[in-house]
Assembly symmetry: C2
Homo-oligomer: 158 residues x 2
DNA sequence: CCATATGATCAGTTTTGCTGATCATATGGC
DNA sequence: GCCATATGATCAGCAAAACTGATCATATGG
């Protein structure tokens, strides 16, 4: 038995399901981040830099699918909040090597807790095995779509 | 062996995977709709009305998670393009009963082909059984999150 | 060493979504 | 039946968001 909340014509439509899942997940996350004044992308940027200190802004743009001029603003915000620093990049003097500050590390750690909580709540209807399967399948789909997209880009710029 | 396109710290993050999948799917769809001058939401509205003639604009807003003032514009666009009509609603004279025109039916049928093609291409890395499983799991997650969200709304307005 | 490409930034514009108001009608208590 | 309140649709105007094109500094490959 299923509720009436998902229209029948969209139950079989992956695009709708994925878009709706994204909407629900990011609305929840937005609420969790509200009082910090930051957005999901700010959190994502900190997550990336935390694991790979020294990333350039362009690297973040590529991974997150964000425009470079938009990323300037995002990094401005984070630097203004004292959560990261733009440091000189060892290998390229045009670029910045982004580094978390101590406050950035702490904020990220602290914020990770409710973020993971929300994700777990969302995943509650699945068994642990199903969760692993879902993750694996999504990874496979996204990875393969990214490869295809990169190939197309290469084909246009030979 | 996996490519480097998904950062390791995000492979286990459902939010990132879902957001990325949505980004990839809707970018493809945008391209497919480009020459029509319409967007994904226009297509979604036509899909809904086609199955359930007589829906009101508010009904569409709820299902699609779109603001009511935004929906006015979307329906304006579709009516202007001759794809649907606002007809008087039998049970509520404030509301419009939305109906596809003949042109709307045709455009939807024609557009459905590339839309489904893109979805199939995206799903290519999964076996038929896996696709069914993915769809079922996503439906379960979205449905349950919608129920939770509706409960919270009820709790605020007792 | 020069031509071209790339990283970052900024000003200015376009696009988008939303707020709050308005009008018409509906609904529920009395 | 009547009024208070809620709801559907619309609009004008505002505010945030994203993009365009330019600029400057530096890198890279021939």
């Amino acid at each position: 038995m299923t509720s009436e909340l998902i229209p029948a014509e969209f139950r079989g439509n992956l695009g709708f399901l994925v878009a709706k899942a994204k909407q629900l997940l990011s609305d929840e996350l937005d609420v969790a981040l509200r009082d910090s004044g930051l957005q999901i992308r700010h959190f994502a940027v900190l997550s990336l830099i935390r694991r790979r200190a020294g990333l350039r802004q362009t690297d973040l743009c590529e991974v997150l699918g964000v425009d470079r001029t938009t990323m300037v603003k995002v990094v401005d915000d984070l630097e203004g909040a004292g959560l990261l620093r733009r440091e000189p990049h060892a290998a390229d003097r045009r670029a910045h090597a982004l580094q978390l500050t101590e406050a950035g590390e702490q904020w990220h750690s602290r914020t990770l807790v409710p973020v993971m909580d929300h994700e777990q709540q969302f995943l509650a209807p699945l068994s642990p095995g199903e969760r692993a399967l879902l993750q694996e399948m999504l990874t496979r789909l996204v990875d393969s779509a990214l490869v295809r997209s990169a190939d197309q880009k290469l084909a246009r710029h030979p």
